[in-house]
């Protein structure tokens, strides 16, 4: 067991020990590293770049939509802008985000391992991400793509004059990055747990990553083959999606959504895992219904494969298929509801602190609640016919993906920032930007529900004049949201140079990640931990010396 006295203490006076950041400063030591933590940091930098690029596209969209006419951009450009916003955000930001950054960094530490099971595969995963990303960015710079991120045929195979094949290949390659990460996580959770770390002592973040990894492995190959077939068909003008030669455009939709629906669970399950950590740790209370949250993640992963047809209700698919998919969509909503109730119950009789990560966690709960409930609107057959392909859908998926995963990602980033970088950020600015994000987000996307019910279709550069007011609200909100997103960039980077040195365990939390130094050494732990306590034990049973910590609190000022 870890030396109890070492927990929570920051040896601020002694010489700095070697940690994973100081263990080699050459470019080669980074680019050829097998250290999961360094790989996570490299993902972090790349993902942030993609987020900014995708965000610029989003800003452009909202600016164009300030007026009913297509006056800022041409239609051709607008079509590329929204397509590329979607592609960059989904494939190159959201899907990797939490797994590749937080998962990579924390999963081995949380289970008490030295590294992931397959570190070189991890590095390969990063390289593949870079290659796929580079190819896609190259294609965007050459002229981009205008098919929508959904690449529906026959527009994408035969009619679009844009770089469909190059972007398709970029996405194809990038998919393998996702698959290898998922594969690595599954193996690691099975074989690398420290002694005493049983399945039901795992942090819920790990359960969430495990469920996500199942989806990544099973789903991503299907988009890979779909995009490959699309690229082939576009190149040789022979194939199975173009009706002019006997193909079937609906088959493309089935194959596309067979992955892309589970993909949205890749884009929310990790966030839920982070939220479980945030809510529990900042209430200092064991998560209510641990097993239910753990199993609900698995249930979402499994059922998520059965509902793809709910993206195709008006596509011409049979109405009986529609009914089956609607029923299953209702079923898949239940596990998420269970989580929401369990999180709320965790707050009950807790000891809640209002740190920035907690604010993000609570923000997730509120926004995902709305996003999830509006998913019911869209899963309900009669209503969805009116709402599909309108801004209602746009609002719904932004609530769950941005209000969900992005907020959770920011929350997790703030929460584990001291651990990852050894620095504390400004709590004041953290709170300010959390609130700006929450307010800006609602102002941006809530009006879009109304626009959707009004019938404003998606992917429109121009719209009827009577809808302008709501669009203006939305753009105004987007400007607030943008500020909220830019601020962390500034103060987090600032903290790297000027932030207070972080103690090992700033909040005295029981997770294994807090039992090692901030930042951790390359091997993660000085001694392999042996776990004898249950998950989320905030008291002395887990070896936390709270009295000592309180005493030190009153003497020094640790954040």
């Amino acid at each position: 067991m870890q030396n109890v006295d070492a927990i929570g203490s920051a040896d601020l006076t002694g010489p700095t020990k070697t940690n994973y950041l100081s263990n080699g400063f050459t470019l080669k030591s980074w680019l050829l590293t097998k250290d999961h933590k360094r790989i996570a940091i490299m993902y972090l930098i790349t993902i942030s770049l993609f987020f900014m690029a995708g965000g610029l596209y989003a800003a452009t969209i909202r600016l164009e939509l300030l007026t009913p006419d297509t006056d800022l951009l041409t239609s051709a450009t607008y079509n590329k802008v929204f397509t590329q916003h979607g592609i960059l955000m989904i494939f190159f930001f959201l899907i990797p985000s939490i797994p590749a950054v937080l998962g990579n960094f924390l999963l081995p530490i949380m289970i008490g391992a030295k590294d992931l099971a397959l570190p070189r595969i991890n590095l390969l995963s990063l390289y593949i991400y870079w290659i796929g990303g580079a190819l896609t960015v190259y294609a965007l710079l050459q002229g981009g793509v205008d098919t929508g991120w959904t690449f529906y045929t026959p527009y994408s195979t035969t009619f679009s004059n844009s770089y469909v094949m190059a972007v398709g290949l970029g996405i194809f390659i990038n998919g393998f990055s996702s698959i290898l990460t998922g594969l690595n996580f599954i193996v690691t959770v099975h074989t690398m747990r420290a002694p005493g770390m049983t399945w039901f002592r795992l942090p819920l973040f790990v359960w969430a990553q495990y469920a996500t990894s199942l989806v990544m492995i099973l789903g991503t190959p299907v988009i890979a083959i779909t995009v490959l077939l699309l690229a082939i068909e576009r190149t040789v003008q022979v194939g199975i999606f173009d009706p002019a030669i006997g193909g079937d455009p609906i088959l493309f939709q089935h194959m596309f959504w067979f992955y892309s629906h589970p993909a949205v669970y890749i884009m929310v399950l990790p966030g839920m895992g982070v939220v479980s950590e945030l809510i529990s740790n900042f209430s200092r209370k064991k998560i209510f219904g641990y097993e239910f949250i753990a199993f609900s993640s698995i249930a979402i992963a499994v059922f998520g494969f059965l509902v793809w047809g709910h993206h195709m209700f008006v596509s011409g698919q049979s109405i009986y298929a529609g009914m089956v998919f609607s029923f299953l969509t209702m079923v898949v909503a239940i596990p998420s509801a269970i989580k929401m109730f369990n999180w709320s119950a965790t707050l009950y009789k807790g000891s809640i602190s209002y740190d920035t990560p907690m604010l993000y966690g609570l923000g997730f709960m509120g926004l995902f609640l709305i996003g999830g409930l509006t998913g019911l609107f869209l899963g309900s057959l009669g209503l969805v016919v009116h709402l599909t392909d309108t801004y209602f859908v746009v609002a719904h998926f932004h609530y769950v993906m941005v209000g969900g995963q992005v907020i959770a990602y920011l929350g997790g980033l703030h929460y584990w920032w001291p651990k990852m970088t050894g620095r504390m950020y400004s709590e004041f600015w953290g709170k300010v930007s959390a609130m700006l994000v929450f307010i800006g987000f609602n102002l941006t996307f809530f009006p879009q529900f109304i626009l959707g019910y009004q019938g404003m279709p998606r992917r429109y550069a121009s719209y009827p004049a009577e809808l302008q007011v709501l669009n203006i609200f939305s753009t105004a909100g987007a400007s607030v949201l943008a500020v909220g997103f830019i601020m962390p960039l500034i103060y987090l980077v600032h903290s790297l140079f000027y932030g207070k040195k972080a103690p090992d365990n700033p909040w005295m939390l029981p997770g294994l990640e807090w039992r090692t130094s901030s930042p951790p050494p390359t091997e993660n732990f000085e001694k392999m931990p042996v776990v004898t306590w249950e998950a989320y034990e905030f008291g002395e049973e887990s070896g936390l010396d709270l009295d000592e910590a309180r005493r030190r609190e009153s003497v020094t000022t640790v954040s």
Binding site: N79, F292, S326, N342, G350, A461, L546
Partner: protein, 370 residues
Amino acid sequence: MQTSSWVPLFPEAASSFAWQVDALYFYLILISVAFTIPIVAAIFFFMVRYREKEKFATPDEMHGSIVLETVWSIIPFVISMTIFLGGAYVYYNQYRMPEDGMEVYVVGKQWMWKLQHSTGQREINELHVPVGRKVKLTMTTEDVLHDFSIPAFRTKADVVPGRYTYLWFEATKPGKYHLFCAEYCGLNHSGMGGWIYVMEQRDFDNWLAGNESGGTPVQQGQDLFENKLGCASCHAGGADQRGAKLEGIYNKEVRLVGGQTVIADDAYIRNSILNPSSQIVEGYQPIMPTFKGQVTEEQLVSLVAYIKSLSGVTGAAPTGTGTTGSSTMQGTSTNTNSTVAPRADRGNSNTQGSNPNAPATRPEPGRNNQ
């Protein structure tokens, strides 16, 4: 869409099953509010009531509760089943085609809707229907996926190349309702809209019989150009537009694909509408569809008048016979056959005032320029 408030919240409901969709919507809003308010209130309440009083406190352990988990799994499940059943019922109404509907055929194409009534009347981007009668649309597309969407009727359906899809509605209120394309289809997806006109039966019968109201030829031509025939979607789109620029071209020399030049006079304009692929302006693709059979001679007259007005030419109806205008195979622009104004007037695209050919001869009907 007709809305009455400053910030439009709700589109008009104008079909027989629209109220069912709206009822479902309200039911879902009710459920959402019923869940959101307690949960958000609980979160706020807990946040305040249980805020940390002592640093690093260790609250009492609380083990889970199977009872609670069961309750809050079963209840949402039951509620979601009611949503499903209600939705399935409405959906069945929306998508089960009536047997006795008035048939209308719809063909979507980039970027317009072509409709035809079973009585033969054709429309572009507009659909006139009588109130209170079931209308069944049989739809397909010439190129890519589109979606025929009428928010006021609370229905839509994709059109798929290579097969037919169907839509039906029964309009309940006369009026003018938006038609949108709701499946991304390329460049002018946002512009591929139109109007559904719901009329009283008597007005509809009149319309079918072809009565049109007044307006000058230029006004009628403008209406046809911008609204009814969809010309604007390619010819008024700005720098990147697909169709040749029409402003200021009247009676000017135009280079065609293949090298010849013509004078863009009345006959040329008329020919370009009826047989567009025969004289394409250099630098443009042969993608304009023909409107032969879709425009009456009267409408042709209005269109030509309007297009002339884009060159500043106002006034009377066009001149010219049914010849190929001023085009010759020799590449000069001498017109030997028409009664178009003498050469001195040509090339002046900003001719103000009346057309020097004022008491014009009307183009001979039926003389297409092949």
